[in-house]
């Protein structure tokens, strides 16, 4: 079964897999998480703002993103972003957008819907007395959110946000559909070039598994510590 298992193909391609592929995957994951949390928090604030129009728009956005498959959204933005860029810059033809920028925009916008639901739950979990006290102290809405509500909401939701980040990390593998060499894309390129599908796919499965396992173990530790503090 494993008689002609070729470990050498993995060893030979390690540099390419990790320095090119994994760097792409991890950069995309961290930037999309960062952007997604910021964008998602603003959507959550819109949704809870009490202004009818704002909360409707935010609600529709979240529902729309959450009912579409990520693969379709990746295709959407891959074709749409050049036109949006043209519209923003006033260029005469759709602008060229690189693979990385296109996937970063897609993942930020898509994951923001999921992050916003987490932040909304976090904001709603803060007791009413907190913003009331902040207002009594004369803080403005912005200050109340910035110094009182959001830090607590973020802190309470940190384990959930990190779990979502692990999901995002796994989801980035879907940029494969645009033939972008992320970690899986790189592995797949080597696999097809050398005809070593078994070795490369098993190896990339093991790498994803190891990283996700360690990360979710870390999240569980963190959760236990936060639960202890409360």
């Amino acid at each position: 079964m494993f008689a002609n298992f070729d470990f050498d193909v993995i060893r030979r391609s390690l540099g390419y897999l990790f320095f090119d592929g994994m760097t792409f995957t991890l950069t995309l994951t961290s930037l999309a998480t960062f952007g997604g949390i910021i964008f998602g928090t603003s959507i959550a604030l819109m949704r809870l703002s009490g202004v009818w129009l704002l909360s409707r728009v935010a609600g529709l956005y979240v529902d729309l993103m959450r009912s579409l498959p990520l693969v379709l959204v990746i295709f959407w933005f891959y074709f749409l972003v050049p036109y949006i860029g043209q519209w923003l810059t006033g260029a005469s033809r759709p602008i060229r957008v690189g693979a990385f920028a296109s996937s970063l925009i897609t993942f930020t916008i898509f994951e923001a819907a999921y992050f916003s639901e987490i932040m909304r739950a976090g904001i709603q979990s803060i007791s009413k007395g907190q913003p009331a006290a902040a207002q009594a102290l004369g803080l403005t809405y912005g200050q109340t959110m910035r110094y009182v509500v959001l830090p607590q909401a973020f802190r309470n939701m940190l384990p959930v946000l990190l779990t979502q980040t692990i999901v995002l990390f796994q989801d980035t593998s879907l940029v494969y559909v645009l033939s972008i060499p992320d970690f899986l894309g790189a592995a797949s390129k080597v696999a097809q070039r050398d005809g070593r599908l078994v070795e490369m796919y098993l190896f990339s499965a093991a790498v994803y598994f190891a990283i996700s396992c360690v990360a979710s173990f870390g999240v569980r530790r963190l959760q236990a510590r936060i639960a202890f503090v409360h």
């Binding site: 079964m1 729309l64 009912s67 579409l68 498959p69 990520l70 693969v71 379709l72 295709f75 959407w76 074709f79 749409l80 036109y83 043209q86 519209w87 033809r93 796994q170 989801d171 593998s173 879907l174 494969y176 559909v177 899986l184 797949s188 599908l197 078994v198 796919y201 098993l202 990339s204 499965a205 994803y208 598994f209 996700s212 396992c213 979710s216």
Partner: protein, 243 residues
């Protein structure tokens, strides 16, 4: 935006010779639904069994359940599909591998099983939390009445647990439908793939993707409404979700 819109493209004949572009998208939708339903049956059955295993007092059973869930949760779905599709036929004895590779509709079976098992880990987690949400007295009372463990689960715990987790199960089913689009990578020609094909043949990118978006939204709405009826139908008056 200097994009040339042409919404009538849906009624133009598609190059695959089976009708117009709309037929093409609808046949993709049918395959999406078929794959999702097959995957969901696998996910529900396997997930319920594994979820129950995790709540059993036996260390071996709950350990196995834990390992199962971790195994399927910590790998991207895309990688899992590749493992089933490209790697499995090479690892089994040669004649089986040949049979697997020559299977007609191999992408369909691979997608149904691969997505089914991927989702079963999530169903297992929901089942476990549903059983965990029941008051301890339920199990104790069942034991006091002399029910065996199997009877306790069959007649006491599971009927209540499944009612509790019906709303999260609905969203897991919606995820299953969405996840079928990942099978585009192993050559399953479902809705997203058909939209992509239509875009390549007709160059009407945004019409094709808009149609796919609308179809996905419609499926979502139908499922949500149907599940609301199911929830109302199985609710026990005066208990937990009963109104």
């Amino acid at each position: 935006m200097n994009y040339h819109w042409n919404w009538r493209v849906f009624w133009e004949p598609a190059p695959n010779g089976t009708g117009n572009y709309l037929d093409m998208l609808l046949s993709g939708l049918v395959l999406t639904i078929e794959t999702a339903i097959c995957a969901w049956i696998i996910a529900l059955v396997t997930g319920a069994v594994v979820g129950v295993l995790r709540t059993l007092p036996s260390k071996t059973a709950s350990g196995f359940g834990f390992a199962y869930v971790e195994f399927f949760r910590n790998m991207p779905l895309l990688v899992q599909l590749f493992l089933w599709f490209f790697v499995l036929p090479e690892l089994v004895p040669h004649s089986w591998g040949l049979w697997l590779k020559q299977l007609p509709n191999a992408p369909f079976y691979t997608a149904a099983i691969g997505i089914g098992l991927f989702m079963s880990a999530r169903v297992a987690e929901q089942t476990r939390s549903g059983i965990g949400a029941l008051p301890r007295g339920q199990k104790l009372a069942a034991t006091a009445l002399g029910l065996t463990t199997a009877q306790t689960y069959r007649y006491v715990l599971l009927p209540m647990a499944f009612r509790i987790i019906l709303p999260p199960l609905t969203s897991e089913f919606l995820s299953t439908i969405k996840n079928t689009s990942v099978a585009i990578t192993i050559g399953l020609v479902e809705l997203t793939a058909e939209a992509r094909a239509m875009q390549e043949f007709s160059f009407q990118v945004f019409e094709a993707f808009t149609a796919a978006t609308v179809l996905y939204l419609m499926v979502n709405i139908v499922v949500v409404i149907a599940m609301r009826f199911v929830e109302r139908g199985v609710a026990i008056p005066g208990y937990i979700t009963g109104k």
